[in-house]
């Protein structure tokens, strides 16, 4: 068996239509895992699927803020896949809002998808007969923003810090059932969304971002590698922690 082999593992990936979710779905498929791609944009999910290897992957197009559909979602996935082995929640919203313009409606929108959807997914994922009793892994996607302050990131940082807090308690609660729960905290990764942001920035402004990362900015595949490891049996002794993947961003004072 190869290192991080995911043969026989059924993994749910939200936010699979682009960026980190897409890169992770592709990598999981290359490691022989089967993926349920979840997102809102069916055409983009189809594109992700076209980049994947192996067979048996499924696409479910759903608005993750409509929690009333989760019962149907998990019914459909388990009917197709049987027991599940992994859940990765990439879907999220990042709004850059100075506190002066951080209205409760914007905060609510971020909380709904970044935090509440994750907890609701976990609630369904951990129901009896859903996860494999031999072991399963949950990965939440936090951010360096949870621990490092920056102007206009208050709302987003709150949602990510809350995720990290949730992961610690969930890990303790789920350990007896062999379900590991971790979060990853990426720095600046060159996703499609961030490349679009880069195009609106001056060279000077973008260089400032790069300079905060000693190893430079990351690629989606860098993050996918870590997630695949956390989903694999090789990470069997890792739970309740947040792993930074940030090119050294957090190492700077």
């Amino acid at each position: 068996m190869n290192f991080c082999d995911l043969t026989g593992k059924n993994i749910l990936v939200t936010g699979a239509s682009s960026g980190l979710g897409r890169a992770t779905s592709v990598l999981v498929s290359k490691l022989n895992g089967r993926v349920c791609l979840i997102g809102r944009n069916e055409a983009a999910l189809d594109e992700t699927l076209s980049m994947m290897e192996g067979a048996g992957h499924i696409i479910i197009s759903i608005d993750l803020c409509d929690y009333s559909r989760y019962d149907w979602l998990f019914g459909a996935v388990t009917a197709e896949f049987g027991m599940l082995h992994g859940l990765v929640h990439f879907a999220g919203v990042r709004k850059t809002l100075p506190v002066k313009v951080l209205k409760t409606e914007s905060l609510k929108q971020m909380l709904e998808i970044n935090l509440n959807a994750f907890l609701e997914l976990v609630r369904y994922f951990t129901r009896k007969h859903v996860p494999d009793p031999e072991g399963a892994a949950i990965v939440a996607v936090s951010s360096v923003s949870a621990l490092r302050g920056a102007p206009a990131m208050t709302g987003y940082a709150c949602t990510k810090a809350a995720l990290d807090g949730a992961v610690r308690s969930l890990a303790c609660e789920m350990a007896p059932r062999k379900i590991r729960v971790n979060s990853i905290a990426p720095g600046h990764v060159e996703t499609e969304m961030n490349v679009a942001v880069k195009n609106t920035l001056s060279v000077e402004a973008y260089n400032q971002i790069i300079q905060t990362h000693p190893l430079g900015t990351g690629q989606p595949t860098d993050v996918a590698n870590l997630v695949a490891f956390l989903l694999s049996d090789e990470a069997r002794w890792i739970t309740g922690t947040t792993i930074f993947i940030d090119g050294g961003f957090m190492a700077r004072s």
Binding site: P98, K100, P151, T200, L201
Partner: protein, 77 residues
């Protein structure tokens, strides 16, 4: 649209004095990087368009910001 924009800017700057399109941003006491960020966020929320730092290279007055928003809105149509 003009009135809406001026109201938005007044809210961002918490300015009691009137604001004119000819006002230079450098001369507005309340204008700083956080005010710029607040305005960018508000414009994104209100109009769904992105003003980046590249745009600000050509912005000197209040009217320039308005023109920038207007141009982006026109291109979207």
């Amino acid at each position: 649209m003009e009135a809406r924009f001026i109201n938005m800017l007044c809210e961002v700057l918490e300015r009691d004095l009137p604001i004119d399109f000819d006002d230079s941003l450098d001369e507005l006491q309340e204008w700083d990087s956080l005010a710029a960020l607040s305005l960018i966020s508000m414009v994104d929320e209100e109009y769904g368009i992105n003003i980046g730092s590249k745009d600000f290279e050509n912005i000197n007055t209040v009217g320039d910001i308005y023109k920038c928003i207007q141009t982006k809105l026109d291109h979207r149509q």
